[in-house]
C-alpha cells in the first residue's frame, strides 16, 4: 500500500533530515514509527502524502508515485487520512462543517450525504451531541477524536497519524487511543508516529525505530520489544519504558 524507497530529504544545503529511508506498509498493516525527537519520524510520515517535499528516492502510494510532478496531489491526498499532533480542526467552522467541507468540495458529495456520513462518524467516536459546537468548545481529546472522524469521512484507504496524543493531557490520551485501536482492529492500514508503546504492543504489526534521519530498526513487534538488535533502539526503549 505504501512503499518508501531510499528517501532523502535535506533542509537547506547542510542538514539532512532523512537518509535513504526505505520501508513499506502493507494493506491492513499497522506500523508504529518511534524514535527520539528530531529523528525525522514526523518528517517521514509527512512525505508520504507529500505535505513535505523530498529530494531523493520515491514513495509509491497505492500504485501512484507521490513525487511524480504529474501526480494530482489533492486527489491522492484525499484518499489518505491524516491526523496531526495539534488536531488542526478549522476553528471558524462547526464540528459538523469540519467533517463536511472536504466531503463536499473534494469528493463532490451532496450536503445531505456528507451530513449523514459525518453524523455516523461522530456517533462512532462518541461526539454526536457536539456536532453543532465549535472546536474551541471541546477538550483536546474530543478535538482529536473529531479530527480522526474528519479524516475517516473521506473513506481513506490508509491513515497517517503524526504524534496524535503528544499534545494531549494524560487523562485524554486513552480516549483517543481507544478510537485508534478500534480502527486498527477493523483492519485499517495505519502508519502511526507515536511514543505510546502500549498502543504499539496492543495493535502494531511492525515497529520502525528512527534516529538522526535513519531507519535504524524495522522489525516485527515481537522482535522489536523482545530483542531490539541495535544499541540505539535498546537505549531508547529503556529510557521510555523505565517509568
Amino acid at each position: 500500500m505504501i512503499e518508501i524507497r531510499h528517501v532523502d530529504k535535506w533542509y537547506g544545503p547542510t542538514f539532512q533530515a532523512l537518509k535513504a529511508c526505505t520501508t513499506s506498509v502493507a494493506k491492513g498493516e499497522v506500523v508504529v514509527v518511534c524514535g527520539p525527537s528530531g529523528s525525522g519520524k514526523s518528517t517521514l510520515i509527512k512525505c508520504v502524502n507529500a505535505l513535505e517535499p523530498f529530494q531523493g528516492g520515491e514513495i509509491i502510494l497505492d500504485g501512484i508515485k507521490v513525487n511524480d510532478p504529474k501526480t494530482d496531489l489533492p486527489k491522492l491526498r484525499a484518499r489518505v487520512g491524516m491526523v496531526f499532533q495539534h488536531f488542526e480542526l478549522f476553528p471558524h467552522l462547526k464540528i459538523i462543517e469540519n467533517l463536511c467541507l472536504a466531503q463536499e468540495k473534494v469528493l463532490g458529495r451532496s450536503h445531505d450525504a456528507a451530513v449523514a456520513k459525518a453524523e455516523m462518524l461522530l456517533e462512532r467516536v462518541g461526539l454526536k451531541e457536539h456536532a453543532r459546537k465549535y472546536p474551541a468548545e471541546l477538550s483536546g481529546g474530543q478535538q482529536q477524536r473529531v479530527a480522526i472522524a474528519r479524516a475517516l469521512a473521506m473513506d481513506p484507504i490508509a491513515m497517517l497519524f503524526d504524534e496524535p496524543t503528544s499534545a494531549l493531557d494524560p487523562e485524554m490520551i486513552s480516549e483517543v487511543l481507544d478510537v485508534m485501536v478500534d480502527l486498527a482492529r477493523e483492519g485499517m492500514t495505519m502508519m502511526v508516529v507515536t511514543h505510546e508503546m502500549g498502543f504499539a504492543r496492543k495493535v502494531a504489526h511492525r515497529v520502525i525505530f528512527m534516529d538522526r534521519g535513519e531507519i535504524v530498526e524495522d522489525a516485527k513487534k515481537e522482535e522489536f520489544f523482545g530483542s531490539p538488535r541495535s544499541d540505539r533502539a535498546q537505549k531508547f526503549l529503556s529510557k521510555i519504558l523505565s517509568h
Binding site: 505535505l51 496531489l73 489533492p74 491526498r77 496531526f84 478549522f90 471558524h92 472536504a102 468540495k105
Partner: protein, 230 residues
C-alpha cells in the same frame, strides 16, 4: 463672537449636503473598501506565493503606491488615464473616463496596497498546520485559501480592516481636486456660494469627526466581542 456668523446656512443646505454629498462619500468609501480588500487580498496572495517574480511585482507595487501622496495619485490618474487608454486601444482621441470611475479606480488601487499588508499579516497569523490539514484532506490551493485560510485571516483582521476603512472615509474628501460633489465638496460649494466659509468648514469637520469617532468606537466594541468568542 459668533454674532457675525450665520449657522442657518447649514440648516438650509442639509438636504444637498447629506442626500447628495454624504451619499456620494459613503458610496465611494464602500466601493473602494470592497474593491481594495479584494485586490489587496490578491496582492497579499501574490506576495506570499512561492513564485518569486510574482512576489517581487506585488512588493514593488505596494512600495510604489505607499511612496506617493494620495492626492497626487488621484490627480495624475484622472488626467493620464484618458491618454493611456487612447494609447492602449489605439483610439484617435483620449477616451472619456468619468470623474467618479476615475476616482473609484484610484482609491481601489491605492487602498489595495494598504489592505494587502493587512491581509498579509492576517494570512501569516494562521498557523501552518491549518493549510496542511486542508491539503491533507485533498483541498486544492485555491480551496484551502477560500474555505480555510482567508475566512480566518479576514476574521482576525476585521478590526484593522475597518479602521483602515475609516481612514479611507476621510481620504475620500481628497476628490475635491477633481471638484467632485462629495460631502466636503458639497459643503465647500455652499460655502463659496453663500460666502459662509467658516460655518461650512466647521460643520464639515464636526460631521467627519462625529462619524469617524462613532465608527472607531463601534470597531472597538466589535473587537472586544470577537476576542471573547476566540
Amino acid at each position: 463672537m459668533f454674532a457675525n456668523f450665520d449657522f442657518d446656512v447649514i440648516r438650509r443646505s442639509l438636504g444637498y449636503l447629506f442626500l447628495d454629498g454624504m451619499t456620494f462619500t459613503l458610496t465611494l468609501t464602500a466601493l473602494s473598501a470592497v474593491g481594495g480588500i479584494i485586490f489587496g487580498t490578491l496582492i497579499a496572495l501574490m506576495r506570499l506565493s512561492g513564485f518569486r517574480l510574482l512576489g517581487r511585482i506585488a512588493g514593488l507595487y505596494v512600495d510604489f503606491m505607499r511612496s506617493l501622496p494620495l492626492v497626487l495619485v488621484i490627480f495624475w490618474f484622472y488626467f493620464l488615464v484618458p491618454y493611456v487608454g487612447q494609447w492602449v486601444t489605439g483610439a484617435s482621441r483620449p477616451i472619456a473616463v468619468g470623474a467618479f470611475t476615475s476616482a473609484l479606480v484610484t482609491f481601489i488601487m491605492f487602498e489595495a496596497a494598504y489592505f494587502s499588508e493587512i491581509m498579509r499579516a492576517g494570512i501569516q497569523s494562521i498557523s501552518k498546520g491549518q493549510p496542511a490539514a486542508a491539503n491533507a484532506l485533498g483541498l486544492t490551493y485555491a480551496q484551502t485559501m477560500r474555505y480555510v485560510v482567508l475566512p480566518q485571516a479576514f476574521r482576525n483582521m476585521l478590526p484593522v480592516l475597518l479602521t483602515q476603512t475609516i481612514v479611507l472615509f476621510q481620504d475620500t474628501s481628497l476628490v475635491y481636486v477633481l471638484s467632485m460633489p462629495d460631502f466636503l465638496g458639497a459643503a465647500s460649494k455652499v460655502a463659496q456660494r453663500d460666502g459662509r466659509l467658516v460655518e461650512m468648514y466647521l460643520f464639515a469637520a464636526v460631521v467627519y469627526f462625529t462619524i469617524s469617532c462613532a465608527a472607531s468606537f463601534a470597531v472597538r466594541r466589535l473587537q472586544a466581542r470577537i476576542s471573547i468568542v476566540r
